[in-house]
Amino acid sequence: MIKNKTVRILAIAPLSRGLGYAVMEGPDKLLAAGNKAILRHKNAGALAWVEKFIRFYQPGVLVLPDVNAADTHRAQRIKTLHRQLLGWAKQRQLKVKLISATQQRERLLGNPKGTKHAMAKSLAEKFPVELGKRLPPKRRPWMSEDPRMDIFDAVGLAMTFWPPVR
C-alpha cells in the first residue's frame, strides 16, 4: 500500500533492443519517458543508464516487470539483467516493485487479455502531450515490434504502480 501518494518512481522496461523508461510523480504527472537503444554489451550499458537515471531523478521506488511471473516469457539475457537490477537496487536500499503483464493489463484495460496496442492507445489518450505523437501504428502480423513500444511498456508499468482512482 502506498502511504505517500507523491512518491517519485522510475519504471524500467528491459527489452531486447535496450530499455524503456518512465519517471512519474503521481498518477497524473509524467515527468519523463523514453527509450534507449543499446547496441553492444547490452546488460552493462542498461545498468549504466539506469544508474544515470537514478542519480538524476532520485526516485523513491524502482518499478520493474515481473519476469518470473507465470504469464511472462523473457530471454535469458533479460532475466540476468533483471537479477542484476534487483541486486543493484538492494545494494542502494532502493524499494523495488515488480508488476506482471496481467496486472498491467487488468489495471489499464480492465481485461487481462487486452493487447499491447490497446494499452499504448489508452496511455496516449491519458498523456496526449507527452505520448500522443509517439504512438506507433498497429503492428501487423508480418511486422516486428516498433521500438517506440518500449516507451509505452515503461509508462504502463509506472501507471500500474499507482492505485486505481475510485
Partner: protein, 115 residues
Amino acid sequence: MQSLPNYLQSQRKRLSFSQEEVAFLLGIRGMHKGNKVCRDENFAREPSLQEALAYEVIYGRPVRELFAGRYEQAEEEVKARAKILSFRKVRKPDVRRQEAIIQLAAKASVNPPIV
C-alpha cells in the same frame, strides 16, 4: 518526497522545444548557446533571476513550480530563520510584526509548493 531542483527539462519536452531554441528565447548568444540550457536542466548551473523569469514566460509556469526543489529549500531556510526571529527580544513589542513572524514560521509547513 523531495522535489527535483528544477523541472526545466520536462517542461521543455512538453512544448517540444530544443535546447538551442530555448537558449535563443532566453537571449543567450554564442556558438553553443544550447549548452547553458543543458547545464540548467542538469542542475549544473543556476540561472540568474532574469533567466528564471524568462523561463516562467517561456513555459507558462511560475518560478516556484519550475524550480520546486530550490523553492522548498528556501522555504525551509526562511522557516528556520523565522523561528529564531520569533525568540529575539525587542524593546517595543509590535503585534503586527509578531503575527507576521508567527505566520511565516507556520506557513512553510502548511503551504507546500504546488508542482
